[in-house]
Subunit: 414 residues, 2 copies
């Protein structure tokens, strides 16, 4: 039996066609969850599935399933692959889209090759992965693995006070022909293909990242309270300068969380000072901390470490720390990791074991089913940005490895 | 001849009445330059001057002059006293207002006492001292001493894209009865009464500050440019984190400009980070520096020091520094200083020689005319804040000393 050959022109052409939906003047994409653009992307993908002869269905969370089950698939449980179609308000053309289009191409390749399968294979587009319009992000996959009930979040509002439930209802009506599957079904395996969204693979010159797991994170908000004072009239010794307090805290924490192995990711992405006049010593400086690590214990400890250090280093100001968001670390399934490794080897690609710093639907799937991820390098590590890009060569390599993985998993698995 | 006795109830009552115009829910004042509130305050002050029988006039910069010239004032050149009526967006009830209301009370006291004068005495309200809505600040006094031409700044915009010229035009029409004086006139002397806006007099327990001069300052904007990156996917060593760059620069500068004598005032009052998402390493952090000192040489040197240190400490990011505002240090007139000293002594008040850290209209007047300032203590040194306050006793003491100074200057001067 020969390997099936993917259709590279079809893959890249479809990615480019999808990138016209929600395109911004700066070349980026604005295709946020449950928007008109998100609906249009969904209709396009459903049309591709119809042309391919796949069986399409939706669920009440807005997840889209495109199933290929040739004669002989005696096992009910599908092998699934996909990602998401929604983007950040200023997103790129590959984040999410590559995983959905890549999965369709891989399954189509298996079909065109007449590969005999024990398991059905399904491409999936999870709804609202980004969470930029409606919280929470990774909504569709979280619903699928029953981490949340979709009914509990229907009242969440976007910035324009539109209810998630109303936007989702409009979104579902855009593809009225789809049957609705009521609930999640057990999976034989899940493999998600994604750009790395970081610089590691590119810097190493390696086309395939075999993802070992997803870092957990904590997002916190730190508030430093001092006393406002006139910049000209108040001697340094009599100040309670919230800016100096904040600077000392950020500096101390960024040094504390440095490690030679780069296991910890510490980021201060947002900061404001009030009252915000150049000639007034600020009395209130607020900043965020995003801290990521592969060990839950480390992250649990980080909050009190940050609280203690913020109090110590902000003196004579006072500091308070609030926890805004939590994601626990995830380890991917060892068997899936091994299959990806072997498939890349079989295809002649070098691989690197890599930990994902970004959250992905696969991290939720992994809490319940055997799951893994394949990364390909992206240009300068840039993502969530109009400049997000990857080489055609690497995009093709990723789908080749995915295709072989799906074949291995759907054939071999019981 | 006896000293005239000021009307303390009228002084405090008028300050309280003025504080109702532009009052914020938090008790602070929002009466920014050329706003409807600023116009209303101007009309109130003009009404007081009319009741007092003063001659009121405006100029094209929006300065308001309230003149008392009893029979016998043979010299054309007035002795002037005043301050400003505009406030910061979150200002207090005394900054500026005390100097205007105090001058009116002092002159009214001279009038009610029938004091014979050689010089006319004038109360003045300089326009747009704060500069919080329209740049530049100290607009009215700068125009009066010909440091700028009002026509050159009419195109300046506020945050709502309203032209300074349009706002000024509406402001001038609010008091249509006032004759317009076309240009600046020579002054025999200028004395400005103001709260200290700092903690020194209160800490020393001394009611009258005799101001020796005004610190000069430079306001700069520092921009740190790095590279945006995903907070989870980018190892610390591969980042160009503009936040870390900015924090290192602010920390290094604040340590460098510390001195035991507290001659230097270094403040970072505003900071922003872009793109401003908690999960993105910022590529652009912008902050202001306000640096004050009594020596011009020090301030001239400070710009290149800041530029060099910003470049050094922001690596691997790049730093640029832009000069936004300059005020040169000012020494007040020795004769005026002596008169204030003697008047306070005569009234039985202890004095402290003090350098002003804040800019004041008096600093501009001093570049052309004999000028000086009287400070009174303010509560906890707080200004530009709803909590701005001073004791009734100190407010009265300041106006008593001012009244005696104006009398000395208007009687004795040739």
């Amino acid at each position: 039996m020969t390997d099936c050959i993917i259709n590279a022109n079809r893959l890249i052409g479809r990615l480019q066609e999808l990138a016209t939906i929600g395109q911004r003047p700066d070349g980026g994409l604005d295709r946020q969850a449950f928007s008109a653009e998100d609906s249009e992307a969904r209709r396009l993908v459903v049309a591709w599935a119809r042309d391919a002869g796949f069986y399409s269905a939706s669920d009440s969370a807005g997840n889209l399933f495109l199933r290929y089950a040739p004669e002989g698939t005696e096992n009910e449980q599908p092998v699934m692959s996909g990602s998401h179609l929604d983007t950040q308000p200023v997103g790129g053309w590959l984040d999410g889209a590559y995983g959905v289009v890549g999965a369709i191409e891989a399954i189509l390749c298996l079909k065109e090759n007449g590969t005999r399968l024990k398991h059905p294979v399904e491409a999936v587009a999870w709804s609202n992965e980004e969470g930029s319009r409606f919280l929470p992000g990774m909504l569709g996959s979280a619903s699928y693995v029953r981490h949340l009930k979709i009914d509990d979040v229907l009242g969440n509002l976007d910035a324009g006070d539109i209810r998630l439930g109303d936007a989702l209802s409009v979104f579902l009506k855009a593809t009225p022909e789809l049957p609705m599957h009521s609930t999640s079904r057990p999976l034989a395996g899940y493999v998600e293909l994604h750009i790395e969204q970081g610089p590691v693979l590119e810097a190493a010159g390696i086309p395939i990242g075999v993802v070992s797991g997803v870092q957990g994170y904590r997002v916190m908000e730190v508030v430093i309270r001092g006393r406002a004072a006139h910049a000209g009239t108040t001697p340094a010794k009599m100040r309670q300068d919230a800016m100096i307090g904040a600077v000392n805290v950020i500096r101390a924490l960024s040094e504390y969380f440095q490690d030679d192995e780069d296991n910890t990711r510490f980021t201060v992405g947002r900061i404001t000072a009030l009252p915000g006049s150049p000639s007034t010593v600020p009395d209130l400086v607020t900043f965020t901390i995003d801290i990521r690590h592969q060990e839950k214990g480390f992250l649990d400890q980080a909050f009190s470490t940050i609280e203690n250090m913020a109090n110590l280093h902000s003196r004579p100001c006072r500091a308070t720390v609030e926890l805004l968001e939590i994601l626990e670390p995830v380890q991917f399934n060892p068997t899936i990791i091994e299959v990806i490794d072997n498939c890349a080897l079989h295809k002649g690609y070098k691989t690197l074991r890599i930990l994902s710093g970004a959250g992905h639907d696969a991290a939720l799937l992994a809490t319940r089913y055997p799951a893994g991820m394949i990364f390909v390098p992206c240009e300068n590590g840039i993502s969530h940005h109009p400049d997000e890009n990857a080489t055609t060569e690497d995009l093709i390599a990723g789908v080749e490895v995915l295709t072989y993985c799906l074949k291995q998993l759907a054939m071999a698995h019981n």
